[in-house]
């Protein structure tokens, strides 16, 4: 393997940081060199957030480049579109089917675009766009906070990887009382992908 680049995007407070932590640590467990970059501070107050995660034989830059990202992992439909140019030709986009209205939309000053309008843009690059009901699955499991792990479950299947290294990292990374729930969430995420 030369490299695999991931971009994790969403809205501050959605659990993107845990997801990118798990992603990075799984890469390390699989024997890759890994770098991860995220931004703290102002951007965490309900604003757009992104983390770059890179696996490779030797990774120099912690940031991925436009047009080269292998997997875009999105927690929110509109946010996916903001990063559309990052996905590489024939790359994979996996999206949690959730819409969080930015303030401009809430107050009626802007419109939240339709799914078709938002996701159509990707077809110039790739047909591998997966809009999955991760939040709904997490709610079925009784805790919307595991949406991130449902999403990672789906990603692990799309990457054609075995669940074990992921589950091991999840077990180490989440508080003990939530381990079982998170493992369920991961398995349900894998089931979302045929």
């Amino acid at each position: 393997m030369n490299k695999i680049d991931f971009l994790v995007v969403g809205v501050g407070g959605q659990g993107t940081i845990l997801a990118s932590d798990v992603l990075a640590l799984t890469g390390l467990a699989l024997g890759h060199d890994v770098k991860k970059s995220e931004v703290h501070g102002m951007s965490q107050r309900g604003g757009s957030v992104e983390s770059h995660v890179r696996w490779g034989d030797k990774v120099h830059s912690p940031l991925a480049e436009v047009g080269t990202v292998d997997y875009v992992i999105s927690f929110e439909v509109l946010e996916t579109a903001r990063w559309a140019n990052y996905v590489r030709p024939d790359g994979t986009v996996v999206i949690n089917d959730q819409r969080i209205h930015p303030l401009a939309v809430s107050v009626g000053e802007a419109e939240y675009p339709s799914d078709d309008a938002l996701l159509e843009a990707f077809h110039a690059r790739t047909d591998k766009v997966h809009l999955l009901p991760c939040l709904a699955v997490a709610q079925e499991l009784g805790n919307p906070r595991v949406t991130n792990i449902v999403l990672l479950g789906a990603l692990s299947k799309l990457m054609d990887t075995e669940p074990d290294p992921w589950l091991q990292v999840i077990e180490e990374r989440v508080p003990e009382r939530f381990v079982k729930l998170n493992k369920q969430a991961f398995a349900r995420g894998r089931d979302l992908v045929q």
Binding site: L28, K36, H40, R45, L63, E65
Partner: protein
């Protein structure tokens, strides 16, 4: 053992393993987590100081007393600490002193993108700069050694992408991982007034000593492994360092590299030799042309950013920026431009950071807006009051600026009524002397201290008003109201900002006081208390007027021209919207809460 650490965590671990015993800081993105990690280690002393100047003085005192010490701050924090930076350069330190400055190219969370390498040159101090977490771990210990060897404070410069990137650190384990034991005997005071008392006569003697020290450091820079030649293609030789090294290595791995781990002073001979070994030198550096200017002064012809030729002066570097520059110089083929797929997208509504649902600042801003006041702002979460629909902050310069600005504007005869707003942590940082000024100079100004009981924006750090230290010990909780009263300010009121009527009454009274006035709006940050039951909008009563939407709460959203709803997952039950609604349409969700 290999582990994935952020640059900040690696600095903390390196400091601990290296034997740093005393560290002081004021929180500031991107540096905050360094002290949070360090404070958790056993047998050390770590503190949040009220500001960076105090933090540096504390670290200098510890180093004078023979300890290994560290002061940590964001780039603009070093402006606040610039005074001690310059005197400690003159006096030097008998222990060791590492001063960490975390710059923020791209201004992810800052008011400017100043390049603090300039402080190294300005204050005649050596500066090291890591490019990943492994180097962050190693360089903090190198900085300590250098500090010991040359009896000088050493600057360690980080940037956002080093602080907040997680990269592999191979850290020692077992015996090796333990810091050296503390000295058995307390260190005696190094009584030496000619060195530590910087009156003009003594300072005049010290100045030539530090100029010589700088020449000695430049000689050391020639041989240290921190500055490393990586031989490669002779067509292009890249002089770089910090995170820019990683970007350049990513896009042109085959080039020859001179990787500078020591940002200042530069190794003149090494640079000239490197330049002679390649056809063309390119300097790749974030922000200022700090190295490029010096390299050119050495008589080395190079490409860089001085004339805007390859790289931009403004904004953060990235692999793409470096790729574009090297392509412009012909060392890379022009980047393959994929068609811009965003062109096919509808306009995307922006998603700037916003005040959280239940934020105690919201009620205050509603009142300030209603009263049509000019608002002199400051640095903190409340700066987010500048975003629509509140759009209520008129200035934001630096920590503690608003109170002085208000006073000056009032004395100049400002036509509108005005207030200053400042957070609790910012008040302790530099607001106190500004308020002293208002009181002393009889400014009939109203200062609102928005006291949410924590340093919120940087991620909830304790401060002198919270009753807890960084290391989670109980301590005195210093009351801003008592501070104001001790200044002789008579008009001091404390009000709950979730009570809009009371807040408006307090602010009106403060404005009309005709003397220095302080209103403290006091309620904990919404992220630190359990939410109250969510509210609901009665669709029968709501006519969609949108009055409630003007407070900018993310929990409220319009569904049609004549209906607004509340997202029960986001609502914290703060009731500010309920108090704003003219039709009594907002109430407790009885179904949900019975």
């Amino acid at each position: 053992m290999k582990q994935l650490l952020s640059g900040n965590a690696a600095v903390a671990l390196g400091a601990y393993h290296g034997g740093i015993r005393v560290a002081a800081a004021y929180p500031g993105t991107p540096s905050t987590e360094i002290l949070e990690h360090y404070a958790a280690y056993p047998g050390i002393y770590a503190e949040w100081s009220p500001n960076e100047k105090v933090a540096l003085d504390v670290a200098i005192g510890a180093a004078y007393a023979g300890a290994n010490a560290m002061a940590v701050m964001k780039h603009v924090g070093l402006n606040v600490a610039a005074d001690p930076l310059f005197y400690c350069s003159y006096t030097g330190v008998p222990g060791s002193l590492v001063i960490v400055t975390a710059d923020d190219p791209g201004m992810h969370s800052s008011q400017n993108e100043q390049d603090n390498r300039n402080y190294a040159k300005f204050a005649r101090l050596p500066m090291l700069e890591p490019s990943d977490s492994q180097e962050a771990y190693d360089f903090v210990q190198q900085a300590m050694e250098l500090s010991h060897q040359f009896e000088t404070p050493v600057l360690l410069r980080l940037t956002t992408r080093v602080c907040h990137s997680y990269t592999v650190v191979d850290e020692p384990t077992g015996e090796e991982a333990l810091p050296p034991p503390p000295p058995a005997e307390p260190h005696p005071w190094p009584r030496d007034m000619r060195r530590y008392v910087m009156v003009p006569g003594n300072a005049r003697r010290r100045h030539p000593i530090i100029e010589q020290r700088l020449r000695d450091l430049a000689a050391w820079a020639e041989t240290t492994a921190l500055n490393r030649v990586e031989p490669g293609d002779k067509a292009v030789g890249i002089i770089t360092g910090g995170i820019a090294y990683q970007y350049a290595k990513e896009v042109l791995p085959g080039a020859s590299f001179l990787k500078l781990g020591m940002s200042y002073p530069l190794p003149r001979c090494k640079i000239q030799e490197f330049a002679a070994s390649v056809d063309q030198v390119v300097v790749v550096e974030d922000l200022d042309p700090f190295w490029e200017e010096q390299v050119r002064l050495m008589g080395v012809d190079c490409l860089g950013k001085l004339d805007g030729e390859l790289f931009p002066l403004c904004g953060e570097f990235s692999p793409a920026v470096v790729r574009a520059g090297l392509a412009r110089a012909g060392f890379l083929p022009p980047p393959v431009e994929l068609p811009d797929v965003t062109g096919a997208l509808p306009p995307l509504p922006p998603r700037p950071p916003v005040l959280c649902p239940g934020c105690p600042h919201r009620g205050v801003f509603h009142v300030l807006k209603k009263l049509k006041l000019v608002v002199f702002g400051d640095i903190g979460c409340y700066t987010l009051g500048v975003t629509p629909p509140l759009s209520i902050i008129d200035t934001c310069g630096c920590m503690g600026a608003g109170i002085g600005q208000l006073h000056g504007a009032q004395e100049a005869g400002l036509a509108e009524r005005a207030v200053a707003v400042i957070g609790d942590s910012t008040f302790f940082h530099t607001g106190v002397p500004a308020l002293v000024n208002t009181a002393y100079n009889k400014g009939a100004d109203l200062v609102i201290i928005m006291d949410n009981r924590i340093t919120a924006m940087t991620g909830h750090q304790e401060h002198p008003g919270t009753g807890y230290t960084l290391q989670r010990e109980e301590t005195v909780a210093i009351d801003p109201a008592n501070i104001a009263r001790a200044m002789g300010i008579q008009h001091v009121t404390v009000v709950n900002p979730h009570d809009i009527e009371a807040t408006e009454a307090a602010i009106r009274a403060g404005l009309d006081a005709g003397e220095p006035a302080v209103v403290i709006t006091q309620a904990p940050c919404a992220l630190r208390i359990p939410p109250q039951p969510a509210l609901v909008i009665d669709p029968e009563r709501c006519n969609g007027c949108g009055l409630c939407l003007r407070i900018g709460c993310p929990a409220l959203y319009r569904v049609s021209d004549d209906e607004v709803r509340i997202n029960p997952l986001l609502c914290t039950g703060c009731t500010v919207c309920q108090q704003v609604c003219a039709r009594q349409a907002i109430k407790l969700d009885e179904e949900r809460n019975t």
